[in-house]
Symmetry: C2
Subunit: 415 residues, 2 copies
Amino acid sequence: MALIVQKYGGSSVGSLDRIRHVADKVYHTRQQGHDVVVVVSAMYGETERLIQLINALSQFPDPREFDVIVSTGEQVSMGLLSMALQAKNCPARSFTGPQIGIQTDHVHTKARILKVDTDLIKRELGLGRVVIIAGFQGVTPEGDITTLGRGGSDTSAVAVAIALKADECQIFTDVDGVYTTDPHLIKEARLLPFISFEEMLEMASLGAKVLQMRSVELASKHNMPIRVLSTFSDGLGTLVTFENKTMHNHLVSGIAFSSQEAIISILGLPRKIGIEGLILSKVSEANIEIDMISQSASVQDTIDFTFTVQRRECPLALKVIEQLANELGALSVNTNAKVAKLSLVGIGMRSHTGVASTMFQSLGAIGIPIHMITTSEIKISVIVDEADLNRGVKAVHQAFELDKVPTHIKSLPFE
Amino acid sequence: MALIVQKYGGSSVGSLDRIRHVADKVYHTRQQGHDVVVVVSAMYGETERLIQLINALSQFPDPREFDVIVSTGEQVSMGLLSMALQAKNCPARSFTGPQIGIQTDHVHTKARILKVDTDLIKRELGLGRVVIIAGFQGVTPEGDITTLGRGGSDTSAVAVAIALKADECQIFTDVDGVYTTDPHLIKEARLLPFISFEEMLEMASLGAKVLQMRSVELASKHNMPIRVLSTFSDGLGTLVTFENKTMHNHLVSGIAFSSQEAIISILGLPRKIGIEGLILSKVSEANIEIDMISQSASVQDTIDFTFTVQRRECPLALKVIEQLANELGALSVNTNAKVAKLSLVGIGMRSHTGVASTMFQSLGAIGIPIHMITTSEIKISVIVDEADLNRGVKAVHQAFELDKVPTHIKSLPFE
């Protein structure tokens, strides 16, 4: 008997039929003798509906009230799932983030979980109930409702799993697991049975859209195994754990990409100690997340500073940067909002050379210009024109033979 | 400067435009220097939408989960109203029932308020904010969300007003106030500037649809003046307070009626001490509310026991009663689900005779048969065929000259 935390996303609970289906899956796990804690998202479309109401009412909605409103989506779906389980004679009880004690900081709409109380969960599990918890939400020490930002339900699930010392955190979604790259784009894309936390972090942060980055960070920090699997088909999905020796058999695990990128450059910035920190702090004050950063010397005593942001945040970032560039005496600010990012990720990269070279050559061979490059120990990212993205992914996928199945150990979930 | 609690119902916050309009009204009151606490219902239609989801999922929904789900309606509208006030630069903050500390018993879907914490409300008012509270909901000592039943937001508002020792509890609705009878039915119906708690209680419990009965009981018990007024037009509405001498100038205040009634009779029940209590306890165990009761001896040693229930509860009540009648050896059970109730209400009735006689004569004169009669100190109710209801109300309204304006003192709200 294991203690399993299962998380079901918005499309998994998108209709009453789907909620019944999720209840089947939860009940099945329960029937195998496991204790089950379920974290649910809002029904697909519900959060959008609430945000539309908010936006129609207020141009600059108060973040506290924003959270009050959007957190109701999960409250509805958790209650419905609990009823669906009870209809199968499976004892269940639902709780909001504040009720169960998911304690967060005060940063409304993007709160961070500080602590998860486990007393109530343990008591309910002890009474033989499935415990259903609203994802995406928590409570400040003063009792205000907070939300964790888009994809926050993954983080809720992982945080609950860690607090309970669960055996596994299963993230049910509408994909079978983590693929070598997007299977909608590249038909040769292959499901990975295992992936390391580090690789998953790189995949998530680079737009692989399967798991929220913060949840993987959290799981990695506390060594909580995450299994990504489909609500709509059987199968073992992908187990995300610490790297093991079998993982080194392959050079690269996959290709992540994101088309919604924008690149901003400050050119001819007078060289000054601490100027990079100043730029970043200004952008960060406007609550804009910077992704890639690269800096290079141009003419004497000046530098070029380039970074990427999500495309929708580009206008605001540009406003901040143009004012700052003016104050700092930069020559000019350039921007290109029609770019995409393509990243090669693999733990095997550490012990092998030539990966970057193979990647750049495969892009160059089909005439794709590279606008920006950053590298880490297990990842190489390039910025290309958005129009070149699909061709580029295909070429790199082929160059590293990602469609070919490596030898691996079959992953075993708790059943 | 006064402390005013305002309650806005579902149709008052039925759209974003209406929410903006409510914000105008609240802001207007605030601008006059008053402290304002607002209690809101869910947007019109939202509670129904949620109940439909629940019913589609579960035939016998768990009451605890039912409350978890339907309580979200008010949470959305309170947040939206807070944003609408902030958009007018009026500081505001919204709170759920659990957050503010509306403590209730454990009877889910029909909970009773035990206590309202005022510390947080007072602190927020002290900071110059309008405090917005979700109506219809509260929390058990264990932290479970409860709802108060249909119309419960009125009770929330009155309970908050009492706890705060507010100067007045204003119930904004889609009618101008309390009329002598339904103005949609009788064009001569007249707005009452004052009505006593007792009269209002009889009006509400008999289907006047303006205020929830429990809220009037509560206000009466704690002597909290309630003003019923329209969200959509200016005007002073109707002030509900303790009786005063001016009220005795009129014999009757109004005519309440309800068309959704059903009558059930147990005939030939063997006379036995305590049998009436047994019948009522069985019906009450099934959570069915009985309204009128009348009992009369028929043949020797047997009694006929007749009562009315809301029509929608008739099938369930009948099931309970038929089984019981069988056990108790009654002759038969009769039912008529196509009846309506017509009630004449007036504090002046106490000191005058002949009111019942005038009422029965006015009905008899146009050939309307009366199926059942009950009386109290300030009310006479009759059950008639549903088809006779409208004609009956018109005849009684005319017989008591309710269309003629009596002399009265103009009521003054806080402005």
